[in-house]
């Protein structure tokens, strides 16, 4: 694992993209193939199944370090990363074990049937035989959650550089539910696997937020406008008699949405549809809120009641494959026409619809339709150039999201917690409240939207104005006011305030606002009544 640890160190030691790519490419050229494929897997979020719980790891590490569990738990939030905390806290290793990355992964997986004593012995022996960086890597293999400052895009670039395979082609090959167990370097990366997985989705085309006046996009007639739906972006695949529903995060959702089976039954083999999974109100003909869809995301099997409560529907955006042909290079209007033609004959009972085009002759008319998007259960408009191919990934120019301005509310910070990883020594995770007479009612958390300098300043303030501590959380004097932006608001009996926000974040620190001018619980309820 020495060379992989060296790679981790090298990637840590630079913030420059070009150097990271060079380091990675070098590793992909020289490391053993089994290690390479595992590296690709780890960097694209695929990790071996967890064979040891983190609770056990923490206990064993504290024991090995000769400290009480409370002291270990004090160190963890300071470091911000469990694997690193363990690597730092252990006494210096007494031995040296030389095993490759894939070798360690195999050893860890062999523990599946082992009892606790055997697992403990294995872990302690590993800790005692690895220098700090390798220890850290070893722990990460168990806990998962790699953040190495390497995006999948950057890794793919390095792979392209090392192999000479086209980057877009590699992006496609890396999609889907492969693992080093069912493929290898030659098959997956070099593409020598003729039975390339039937389940493999295409890379999603992603949009930038429109940051210019729509008129600058030119002739309105060259663009299709549709609602920007707030569900789960997905890709439905029907190939070889089977169907697969993928999320944009490349999670397989097939079992979570039995509705997809009903749709797939109506699709011919060799079809791939890009669309949005929505919880649908069939009576009203509009989406139920995202909060209705949420309970369906987390569970592998869906109880009947939930299926009836939040029936799913796919709003189709695009046709990527038809009769086994990859259509992505064809112009959008051609793909959409094919899609529309097929969907026209589909019975109403099949929960698949064409995302309707928004009709308006000019940009001004479209702007008026955008302003009313919330009434249709959408969060704005999408603008798509009719002549454009289907791009892989995020690219400026041919697709834009033209979202509504967020809703905002001025709220008071009442709790603060340290961030993790890069932000481990700063207070960055805040809980916000609205006023209710003399009391403060928490209603949302937010973590992002401020600059590092502001987080540093607030961190100093938090230290000086702490009124109480609950583990890593500090209660602070309710004095700082922030403007919180969010995309939607919904009633939620699970929350003390009775509401749940969609995508809350800090828009700005309102240094000019006294607490007395922050929003009240009544203000929040009024927003719920208007926008919920």
């Amino acid at each position: 694992m020495k060379d992989f640890a060296a790679l981790v160190t090298a990637l840590d030691q630079t913030t420059r993209i070009s150097l990271k790519v060079a380091e990675l490419a070098d590793y992909f050229r020289t490391a053993p193939e089994d290690d390479r494929i595992w590296t690709v897997a780890l960097l694209s979020g695929r990790r071996p199944r967890r064979s040891i719980t983190t609770t056990k790891l923490r206990l064993w590490a504290a024991e090995a370090a000769g400290i009480a569990p409370w002291l270990f738990e004090t160190c963890y939030p300071v470091v911000g990363d469990l694997s690193e905390t363990i690597a730092l806290i252990l006494p210096a290793p007494q031995g040296r074990i030389e095993t490759s990355l894939s070798g360690w992964i195999a050893d860890l997986r062999a523990l599946d049937g082992a009892d606790d004593a055997a697992r403990r012995a294995f872990v302690l022996r590993a800790w005692d035989g690895l220098p700090p960086v390798e220890r850290f890597v070893f722990n990460k293999l168990i806990t998962g959650g790699w953040r190495m400052g390497v995006s999948q895009k950057l890794m793919t670039r390095a792979l392209a550089e090392a192999t000479g395979v086209d980057q877009a082609e590699l992006t496609h090959r890396l999609m889907g539910d492969w693992s080093p167990d069912n493929t290898n370097w030659a098959g997956l990366i070099m593409g020598h696997d003729p039975a390339a997985s039937l389940s493999r989705p295409y890379p999603f085309a992603l949009a930038h937020q429109l940051d210019l006046a729509p008129a600058e996009l030119g002739d309105r007639a060259n663009w299709l406008a549709e609602d920007k739906w707030d569900g789960i972006r997905g890709q439905l695949i029907k190939r070889g008699g089977d169907h697969y529903l993928w999320s944009r995060g490349e999670e397989l959702m097939t079992d979570r949405f039995p509705e997809a089976a009903a749709i797939a039954a109506a699709l011919p083999d060799g079809t791939v549809i890009d669309g949005e999974v929505l919880a649908w109100d069939h009576a009203m003909g509009r989406p139920l809120g995202f909060s209705k869809l949420q309970p369906r995301i987390g569970r592998k099997t869906v109880p009947k009641r939930l299926l009836a409560d939040a029936p799913a529907l796919i709003m189709a955006y695009d046709l990527l494959e038809w009769q086994g042909d990859d259509l992505r290079a064809r112009p959008f209007d051609t793909r959409r026409a094919l899609l529309a033609e097929f969907l026209r004959d589909l019975p109403e009972t099949v929960p698949l619809r064409l995302s309707p085009a928004i009709v308006a002759d000019d940009w001004a008319g479209l702007a008026a339709m955008r302003a009313k998007a919330r009434d249709r259960g959408a969060e704005g408009l999408m603008l798509k150039r009719l002549g454009a191919p289907y791009h892989a990934g995020r690219r400026r120019g041919d697709i834009w999201k033209w979202k509504l301005d967020p809703l905002t509310i001025d709220a008071v910070m009442i709790y603060a917690q340290a961030g993790s990883g890069r932000r481990a020594t700063l207070y960055t995770d805040f809980t916000f409240a609205v006023r209710d007479g003399a009391a403060f009612v928490p209603f949302t958390k937010a973590y992002s939207g401020l600059s590092d300098a502001e987080f540093r300043e607030i961190t100093g303030w938090v230290r000086a104005h702490t009124t109480d501590r609950f583990g890593p959380v500090r209660a602070v004097r309710p004095e700082l006011v922030f403007e919180i932006a969010f995309e939607g608001i919904q009633a939620s009996p699970r929350h003390k305030s009775g509401v749940a926000l969609r995508f809350p974040r800090m828009l700005r620190w309102r240094r000019d606002k006294p607490v007395a001018e922050a929003a009240s619980l009544d203000d929040l309820k009024a927003m719920l009544a208007q926008f919920g």
């Binding site: 840590d12 030691q13 630079t14 913030t15 370090a65 400290i67 009480a68 409370w70 002291l71 004090t74 160190c75 939030p77 300071v78 470091v79 911000g80 990363d81 690193e84 905390t85 730092l88 806290i89 210096a92 400052g149 340290a418 993790s420 990883g421 890069r422 932000r423 481990a424 020594t425 700063l426 207070y427 590092d452 540093r456 300043e457 961190t459 100093g460 890593p472």
Partner: protein, 337 residues
């Protein structure tokens, strides 16, 4: 009580003196020259002889009396002496004995001999007032030879790429430690004005440092491409850096032990070098005093006091205005502290 904890600082009633006070007082005993310990505005100062030049340099004309290490001074009803703390040149722990009871104020200290500062000596006492900047078991300092190899390796690599290496280190103590680790055979060494000034003071008192070139305004830096530049950490992100062209940046600090801090600080390299004791150092130092009572002043005070309490010490926390080792404002010093 031999010492009391007052608004203005740590006070000895028997001698009517304060130790490292943070508000102006009539008479101050100073452990070392860092600005959170040696402040302006006191009536009279007392410090070690080797701390004196830096104190005068930083505080100007002050009424300063000096003492040798180990020399016992009688002030009022107290016997007072200074003992090496190993933190920076001239740094001291201050021992105060009143009627047979001995208390020691550590100031800032490290137990590892850096070859630059007078090496730390444990002072037996009944009560030890200790810093604990790095008082968590995640802090373990690498050994000096390792660090020197890391820094010189980075410098050589940077130079080979045609870039200049710039390392951020405290002007007093850390900078000179780094200077003495550098291999002058690799290339020329440049210093920022703040460090040049401190170097001059230390050289004048006989401390050996490698040959350095002061960076001056308007100076032609082309011949120095590939040099090592030693600068205070605050200079690293500033306009001052532009003059060097392409650079690789490094920071020397105990906080560089943490990956999150390294990444947030955005320097290319982090070197784990501190002038404070690490976890093992703190524990060894406290054990070596034989003290039964320990007060912890700055750093991870709450967990460290609890840890000591569990090990049978009578441990307490004292609120002080000392900073420990800070990277920049509101940074580093432990969210859990």
């Amino acid at each position: 009580m031999v010492l009391e904890f007052r608004e203005a600082g740590i006070y000895c009633p028997a001698a009517d003196v304060y130790i490292d006070p943070w508000r102006p007082v009539a008479r101050a005993l100073i452990t070392h020259g860092h600005s959170d310990h040696a402040r302006a505005g006191h009536g009279r100062y007392l410090a070690t002889q080797s701390a004196a030049p830096v104190l005068r340099h930083r505080l100007g004309e002050i009424a300063l009396q000096t003492a040798h290490y180990g020399e016992v001074l009688r002030i009022g009803d107290a016997e007072i002496s200074f003992h090496p703390a190993g933190h920076v040149p001239g740094s001291a722990q201050i021992r105060v004995a009143v009627g047979g009871e001995v208390w020691v104020v550590s100031g800032d200290y490290k137990t590892v001999d850096d070859g630059l500062s007078e090496a730390f000596e444990p002072v037996p006492c009944h009560c030890f007032i200790s810093e604990c900047t790095f008082g968590l078991p995640i802090y373990h300092w690498p050994d000096a030879a390792d660090l020197a190899a890391q820094i010189n390796g980075w410098w050589a690599q940077t130079r080979a790429k045609g870039q200049t290496a710039v390392i951020g280190a405290y002007a007093l103590g850390k900078a000179q430690r780094v200077l003495r680790m550098l291999d002058p055979a690799i290339g020329p060494i440049l210093t920022h004005g703040a460090i040049t000034a401190t170097n001059d003071v230390l050289r004048a008192q006989g401390i050996a440092l490698p040959t350095t070139v002061a960076v001056a305004p308007g100076m032609d830096l082309k011949p120095y491409r590939g040099a090592m530049v030693v600068a205070p950490p605050a200079a690293l992100g500033s306009a001052w850096m532009r003059r060097f062209g392409p650079v690789s940046t490094g920071i020397a600090s105990g906080w560089m032990q943490l990956r999150g801090v390294r990444r947030r600080r955005g320097a290319d390299r982090g070197f784990v070098i501190s002038d404070h004791a690490d976890w093992a150092g703190l524990n060894a130092a406290i054990a070596a005093t034989g003290a039964e009572r320990v007060f912890v002043t700055h750093g991870y005070t709450a967990p460290f006091a609890r840890w000591l309490g569990e090990r049978g010490y009578q441990a307490g926390i004292v609120q002080t205005a000392f900073d420990g080792e800070s990277l920049d404002a509101g940074d580093g010093a432990g969210v859990a502290a």
